[in-house]
């Protein structure tokens, strides 16, 4: 009986953490537990949540992509410039932007799978290069001129109360859950992360599978970048700096293993909400950005240690 109780505690530990956090912030600041602030949190976490879904695919397959933040920045700059300088149809510009991040994701996956270089290094290189490119393209200045006609994507509401980014997030979550639970591709992601060689020897094309995790992540990162651009109203070359850390922390916090093969979208989303609530609560309580970085870093450290410990324990038993 006691064992069962502990098991339940462990299973829902992450939800309990979330509830405790909400209670603490509610006590600390009356402005926290309000409907408006809740919608605020939804808007804030929507971008992170969308990328977390793609990032979960990659982590499940045993990979990593540190270039998501830079992908978003370069997408924002390019799309804004296409509209401003070439006077392109905004919808077409957006499609080009999303196609671009998808292609970047594909390239990451392809290069990692074919050459066997560690994903950490490959995508760190990509992160740096893309960040540099977005500064070069924009000459280091924000690119204004995002037309009002598309700003509703980042700023609008459905039925007057539900933020559109939240709706997009919901659609992306549904996509992620269906892909992982209902399709063979999703199942192959788990298999790849669990044991790549056994998966290959089961007749699965693991290059394709691995490349798909990165490609889908690139696609979803493009969608998150769209939300970001239309919310800010410009293309900022320094946008989404350090974004990958938030996303990684959210996913691992939500039980997605950094060693691959284990985790779920729902878990990762709870992780994303915790990071969102933590950041929102801290700013409401007056902690500045720098403190938020310190806290996020510590949280990432702790959850990765816990993940490794539980892995080691499983190997022993």
């Amino acid at each position: 009986m006691k064992f069962g109780f502990l098991k339940i505690i462990r299973k829902y530990a992450i939800l309990i953490v979330l509830i405790v956090l909400i209670l603490v912030f509610s006590v600390l600041s009356p402005a926290f537990a309000t409907f408006n602030n809740a919608m605020n949190v939804v808007r804030q976490i929507s971008m992170m949540g969308i990328v977390t879904v793609g990032f979960t695919f990659i982590l499940l397959g045993g990979g990593l992509d540190l270039s998501v933040g830079s992908q978003m920045a370069v997408m924002n700059v390019v799309v804004a410039m296409l509209i401003r300088d070439l006077d392109l149809n905004p919808v077409l510009a957006i499609l080009i932007g999303i196609a671009m991040t998808t292609a970047i994701g594909w390239f990451n996956g392809f290069a990692i799978s074919k050459t066997g270089i560690p994903p950490l290094i490959a995508t760190l290189a990509m992160q740096t290069a893309l960040r540099g490119a977005s500064f070069i393209l924009s000459k280091g200045r924000p690119v204004y001129g995002v037309p009002d006609s598309i700003k509703f994507i980042g700023q609008g509401y459905i039925l007057g109360i539900i933020p559109i980014p939240g709706v997009i997030l919901a659609v992306v979550i549904a996509f992620g859950i269906i892909l992982l639970n209902k399709t063979y591709l999703g199942r192959h992601f788990y298999a790849l992360g669990s044991n790549p060689e056994a998966t290959r020897l089961s007749g699965i094309n693991i290059h394709f599978t691995r490349t798909m995790t990165y490609t889908l992540n690139g696609f979803l990162t493009g969608i998150a970048a769209l939300v970001m651009m239309t919310r800010v109203g410009s293309g900022q070359p320094n946008a989404a700096d350090g974004f990958e850390m938030n996303v990684l922390t959210a996913a691992v916090l939500g039980g997605v293993s950094i060693n691959g093969g284990k985790g779920s979208i729902t878990g990762a989303m709870v992780g994303a909400v915790i990071i969102g609530v933590l950041n929102n609560g801290m700013s409401i309580c007056g902690a500045n950005d720098y403190w938020q970085k310190v806290i996020t870093g510590l949280v990432l450290f702790v959850v990765v240690v816990l993940d490794s410990l539980s892995q080691a324990k499983r190997k022993d038993s």
Binding site: K182, T183, H188, A191, S194, N195, A198, T199, L201
Partner: protein, 500 residues
């Protein structure tokens, strides 16, 4: 002459029991100063366990080790080193990114006289040079180990032993990775060491070379010592008889499937170290693949399955040429492979049983990318009943199962794909007796269904009982074929040892 009879190590009444196996049973052996003493026996005869007792890697349950006038109940690696024991395993114990000199003196740090905080590179090189010259080893002390050939690395291992003044040098299959020329060089070196009074305990499957270098030999079988003899006084034939003559385990198995038409024909295949392999397998036939460790059985299986690339040769399935460039293609052609290394290559341990079973056919049972869950469940349940997989549920992770049940999951995974050719690489390794019997019955059942089966096993009884026909490999080449009527342990072992 009396000098050479001096006993440097006497092992007395050593026994060791592991769960389920008596690895060593009251073994007593004496090793003399300056002799090359070969330990021979089949896989699992207890040779490795015995040398682990000397090197301190394992401790005996009972018995003692006597080094000259000192007696011990057990060794530790450190103690063994103090007693002058050095062991060269097949897997070398070297630091690839360091130099030869640094490897030789790893652990014995040398510092310069004037400044004890800094290590003295030149002294390493000088001392290493002395050691290498003493036994005439042609390796430069400043070379990096990672740039060397396997043969040279082995020489560095020997130099390490010389530098520590080893009196007993244990070598486990030292010639396995060497070319003929390198082997000659090694034998010369062994001669030099011998003259300097070093005792060499030599494990090898290559009986031919024992007659060249071993002064005496000890034959082991099933954890017991059969005899120790001067090499000159025992014939090859006797040697093989002693090695093979074990109590034959009863295997309740009759292969009664009818041999149908040729499913797979292998023509002059080379690659993965193998040379010019040709054979064919029929429907309903259990085709055995025999040979010693490293003979190339797994390498051949991996070529057929597309896990490694063929260099030349042809594969024909049903008389038509096929190209197998990846496991993916092999699976779509109806070839299945149950690998030797279940934990790393066979099962996905952290995933549910059901996911493991349907992995190769997931795409086949999907519609527009969506898995047909009902069909999946039916397949999993059918395989569970078929193979009698014992688990609380099919959603249980594979790592929570026993070895036998894990292996059944791997078998189930391939049966679900209804293959035409099933390659089984050591399918009963690490599996308990009952599960073994069940697996044999299943193999018989597959053959009756008309599957062509390639059966690889290091267990002689199993190989002789289960297979209908056999090909024996020796050093990555065909040593010969045997029909069922011609089967005997002696013949297989003779072929596998290259004594045809």
């Amino acid at each position: 002459m009396t000098d050479t009879m001096e006993i440097v190590l006497s092992m007395q009444h050593i026994s060791k029991h592991y769960v389920g196996i008596q690895a060593l049973d009251d073994v007593s052996v004496d090793f003399r100063k300056g002799e090359v003493h070969a330990l021979i026996g089949e896989n699992g005869a207890g040779k490795s366990t015995l040398i682990k007792m000397i090197s301190g890697a394992e401790v005996p349950d009972s018995g003692k080790l006597v080094f000259g006038d000192r007696e011990f109940d057990k060794m530790t690696p450190h103690l063994a080193q103090n007693m002058g024991v050095a062991t060269i395993y097949q897997e070398f114990n070297l630091f690839p990114t360091l130099t030869v000199a640094e490897n030789i003196y790893m652990g014995d740090e040398m510092v310069s006289d004037d400044s004890p905080r800094f290590y003295h590179k030149n002294r390493y090189l000088e001392k290493a040079k002395e050691v290498l010259d003493r036994v005439n080893i042609a390796v430069r002390p400043g070379d990096y180990v990672e740039d060397m050939t396997t043969a040279k690395m082995q020489l560095v291992e020997i130099a390490k032993a010389v530098a520590r003044d080893a009196r007993i040098l244990i070598m486990d299959e030292p010639t396995a990775p060497l070319s003929t020329k390198e082997t000659e060089y090694l034998f010369e070196l062994i001669g030099t060491l011998k003259r300097q009074g070093v005792t060499i305990i030599y494990i090898s499957h290559r009986l031919e070379e024992l007659y060249r270098i071993a002064d005496r030999l000890t034959i082991m079988r099933d954890g017991r010592k059969i005899l120790t003899s001067d090499t000159k006084e025992i014939s090859r034939k006797e040697l093989i008889r002693h090695m093979a003559n074990r109590e034959v385990e009863e295997i309740d198995f009759v292969s009664d499937a009818e041999r149908g038409k040729v499913i797979l024909e292998v023509k002059n295949v080379s690659g993965n170290g193998l040379h010019d392999i040709s054979f064919c397998v029929h429907a309903g036939e259990i085709f055995g693949l025999g040979g010693l460790l490293g003979a190339g059985r797994t390498e051949l299986a991996r070529l057929l399955f597309g896990a490694d690339r063929m260099e030349s040769g042809q594969l024909l399935m049903d008389g038509k040429e096929i190209l197998v460039k990846s496991p993916n293609q092999a699976v779509s052609l109806g070839i299945a492979y149950v690998p030797e290394d279940r934990k790393h290559h066979g099962a996905l341990l952290t995933l549910p049983i059901s996911w493991n079973i349907t992995l190769p056919i997931l795409k086949r049972i999907s519609f527009r990318g969506f898995i047909r869950k009902k069909e999946e469940r039916q397949i999993v349940e059918a395989q569970r009943d078929n193979l009698r997989i014992k688990a609380s549920g099919m959603e249980q992770n594979v790592n929570s199962l026993s070895g036998g049940n894990q292996q059944k999951v791997v078998l189930a995974k391939w049966l679900a794909s209804s293959p035409r050719l099933l390659i089984l690489d050591e399918p009963t390794r690490g599996v308990d007796v009952n599960a073994k019997q069940e697996i044999y019955q299943l193999i018989g059942e597959f053959a009756r269904q008309g599957m062509a089966i390639i059966f690889i096993s290091s267990e002689m009884e199993e190989l002789l009982n289960i297979s209908d026909r056999m090909m024996v490999l020796n050093e990555k080449k065909i040593a010969g074929f045997l029909e069922k009527e011609e089967y005997s342990q002696n013949r297989v072992l003779a072929m596998a040892s290259g004594l045809t």
